[in-house]
Amino acid sequence: MTVTSIARALRVPKLIPPYTATGDEIAVFELAHRNRLPVLIKGPTGCGKTRFVEHMAARLGLPLYTVSCHDDLSAADLVGRHLIDASGTYWTDGPLTQAVRHGGICYLDEVVEARKDTTVVLHALSDDRRILPIDRTGEILEAPPEFMLVVSYNPGYQHLLKGLKPSTRQRFVSLAFGFPEAASEAEIVATESGIDPATAKRLVTLANALRSTADHDLEEAPGTRLIVDAAKLIAGGCDPQVACRAAIVECLSDEPEISRALMVVVAAIFGH
């Protein structure tokens, strides 16, 4: 795996990705950046964590280095490694090193998924030392004021044996994300998908109905992203019930009986 395939460095985009605040998260993020504090974002799947970070990066005019963590992601994937070419070996920075070198936001999505050795690399960066030691090259990088570390994880969907260690967690300013209020979520769905406000409202009613069955019937509540996907299908001319089945119901459950019961809820809202 090459470093570039896991890192997606967005140079400052011209357009700021739309984001509807649900609380004080924008102000807290800006203050954290000004005070050089790392930020941890926790919240359920599809509640807008990634979108928020993209929005904030654009707002602060910083490049964003996003790394989606997985269980094979090691410290070397973040920091960098030696590669070989015709003339011998050369060093390549990983996304974290790039962000530290050039200043910018390094965003580690679903950080608990990564291997344990990665969090060790983050420790020296997330306290007031703000340094990144690279033992392979012997370099010690000091983070510029523009550098900011942001990590996210989903507390509801944690692997049995994984969790964020308290010593790691206590280094971050933490923002807890939930699903937006019905009215503002409907607005988000309408703007993201271009669907009419009435249908957007119905979709949000459906989402909230399905969310209240989470833990009992569903493993996880449907996120805003699923609703937006369904809205896009409907906006494209799909029958609402078909769209909800494809974009929401079948994504939430593999059990036929549960899917059937979920479709009853869909019919309660989109039936005719």
Binding site: A76, I84, G88, S212, T213, A261, V265, I269, G271
Partner: protein, 603 residues
């Protein structure tokens, strides 16, 4: 012959009178899961179960055919109580199966939303219908079809006396346009039941009775008595109401059969009510009984206590015991008796655990032995490029392994779970469950989880009746498969006697010590301190248990205690060591937490 004619007549008349559509019938069982999920999705309480409800007597006017058949006195109506959402067991009132199905979903939605349960029947149901149709357009469309079908099913206005016709008119208006009718016009008889609405509230007397029910046992018993009387009084009134039919008696043998049938039904109902009351009484009687048994037992055993008797016992299976006062390990102090759970029938996993099992199986699949890739090995099947590049880049020659190798990572584990089955586990822990129920569910889920990881495990239970009778139950031995036989034994556990923990741990140590595994975990599941009906109490029991655990550690076992005793932090650190026990604050969480705990302990 007469009887046969009677039966034929009964069937005929019933068929004529019944305005039902068996071909379009929908049973609750076929939609219960969907309806329950809809109920929760629309805001219903997660703790409420969905159950079939009994029929409700409505007292409204019936057609002459219905009266002749003696049918339709009761209607299937939906209602909520604290425990359950009650829906009709079968709905076959509309000619189309789709409508009957929709009625189930409509009733579930109505119960979930029901914004004003405090209002009188008519306004409450209109408010609920209004709230549901406003929030859920799909249900609103279904409701319009249902309301049309319900109005078509209702008695014709022209056949009703004027007062009842006015009442009926109001109900039809409320069905067509919910929220439009403020009050029900008075009439001699109550209106024909409305299947789309929730059941009218019970009378004030019945409510008061229901409220009185959950009080102390004695009061509940007397309340049941009074309830029985109330029902009998109710039934005693009935023949008067059926005066019309009794007129047939002298003239026609058919109506005599019919009358007898009515009588029979009444009798049956009453029997059922009595049986239900008796059921409740049974529960109380047993509970009281057991309590007194417990007291008796403790008393008799306390009396039998042999003060300071420490003469060695003889026979097989003798275990020593530690006496902290003399600081001596006295040999042959306790006799282990293997008590088979002989009458346990093989059984499947209880249904209420099926969901937890699925979740645990998924989670524990991650613990299965996997092929692991080992990097930077001195030899192996493939070249590991990373150390080589480091080697070339640094030219220091520090790296030596340039190969990757695949190896099966074995979990070499044996776990023995020892469950305390003493009488104290009879105690209630809330939510209508006893400690023993929680322990039973824990054993089930623990076994389900471990059968996925392929770790070797055994389950034992113990209790004791003084040192000569430490009772040891094998639920599942190491060499037995976990199947319906083992499940049957788990299902068969019950509380008895006391907790001579030290002896049980020594015996378990013996069994687990024979297992050849890299890691051996001895898991103790308990609800309190060690104690027995003799000098095995307080300090003595605690010190002996502690000594038994030290011996277990010396044999290379890893003991760990899981307890639901909230005071356990006072003595468990001493017995088990600071980090080798856990107190479960809410016993109901134990079944789910125990397997996860195991995963953490063995990772």
């Amino acid at each position: 012959m007469e009887e046969q004619v009677g039966i034929a007549w009964h069937r005929l008349v019933n068929r004529l009178a019944a305005r039902r559509h068996p071909a379009a019938a929908i049973e609750l069982a076929s939609v219960s899961r969907d309806a329950a999920l809809l109920y929760r999705a629309l805001g219903g309480d997660h703790g409420v179960a969905l159950q079939a409800g009994a029929q409700t007597r409505h007292g409204a006017r019936r057609s002459w055919l219905e009266r002749l058949a003696g049918s339709e006195r009761k209607a299937d109506l939906a209602w909520m109580d604290g425990q359950a959402l009650r829906l009709p067991p079968v709905i076959d009132v509309y000619p189309e199966a789709g409508l009957n199905r929709d009625l189930y979903f409509w009733l579930a939605a109505l119960c979930a939303v029901d914004p004003r349960p405090d209002l009188p029947w008519l306004t409450r149901n209109q408010a609920a219908a209004l709230a549901v149709t406003a929030a859920f357009p799909g249900l609103a469309a279904g409701y319009r079809r249902l309301a049309a079908a319900e109005i078509a099913r209702r008695p014709q206005l022209s056949k009703l006396p004027p007062d009842e016709a006015r009442q009926e008119q109001a109900i039809r208006a409320a069905l067509t346009d919910p929220g439009s009718v403020a009050a029900l016009p008075a009439a001699r008889l109550p209106p024909h039941p409305v299947l789309l609405w929730l059941r009218p509230e019970q009378s004030a007397a019945a409510r008061a009775h229901a409220a009185a029910a959950p009080e102390a046992a004695a009061q509940a018993a007397s309340a049941l008595q009074s309830d029985k009387k109330r029902r009998i009084a109710e039934h005693a009134e009935m023949p008067e109401r059926k005066g019309g039919l009794m007129l047939f008696r002298p003239e026609s043998i058919f109506s005599w059969t019919e009358y007898a049938k009515i009588e029979h039904e009444t009798q049956e109902n009453e029997d059922q009510d009595l049986a239900r009351a008796a059921d409740d009484l049974d529960v109380i009687a047993i509970a009281q009984d057991k309590k007194s048994v417990a007291k008796k037992l403790r008393m008799s055993l306390d009396l039998a206590e042999a003060q300071g008797d420490s003469s060695p016992l003889d026979g097989d299976g003798m275990l020593p015991e530690w006496d902290y006062r003399t600081q001596l390990l006295k040999p042959d102090q306790c006799r282990i008796n293997a008590v088979p759970l002989g009458d346990a029938l093989p059984c499947a996993l209880p249904l209420h655990l099926a969901r937890d099992r699925q979740r645990l199986r998924r989670q524990f699949a991650a613990l299965q032995p996997l092929r692991q890739r080992l990097k930077a090995q001195p030899e192996g099947s493939e070249i590991d490029i990373d150390p080589y590049i480091r080697h070339v880049a640094q030219r220091s020659g520090a790296e030596s392994g340039f190969y990757t190798d695949q190896r099966q990572r074995e979990r070499d584990l044996a776990c023995l779970l020892l469950a305390d089955l003493s009488l104290s586990t009879e105690a209630w822990v809330g939510e209508g469950r006893r400690v023993i129920d929680v322990i039973r569910d824990s054993l089930f889920l623990f076994s389900e989880a471990l059968s996925v990881t392929r770790d070797r495990f055994a389950l034992y239970g113990f209790s004791s009746r003084q040192r000569s009778d430490v009772r040891f139950h094998t639920l599942k031995a190491f060499d037995e498969p976990y199947g319906d036989v083992a499940r049957g034994r788990i299902n068969g556990i019950g509380p008895a006697y006391y907790t001579r923990m030290g002896a049980a741990i020594r015996h378990a140590t013996e069994i687990l010590g024979r297992q050849k595994a890299r890691e051996r975990l001895l898991l103790l599941l308990t609800d309190g301190k060690p104690n027995d009906a003799d000098h095995y109490e307080g300090r003595y029991g605690i010190e002996d248990t502690r000594k038994a655990l030290i011996a277990a550690r010396q044999r290379g076992l890893r003991p760990f205690c899981v307890t639901v005793d909230q005071e356990a932090h006072e003595y468990l650190p001493h017995i088990f060591g600071k980090s080798s026990f856990i107190i479960i604050r809410k016993p109901s969480e134990l079944p789910a937490r125990l397997p996860l705990l195991y995963a953490l302990l063995t990772r």
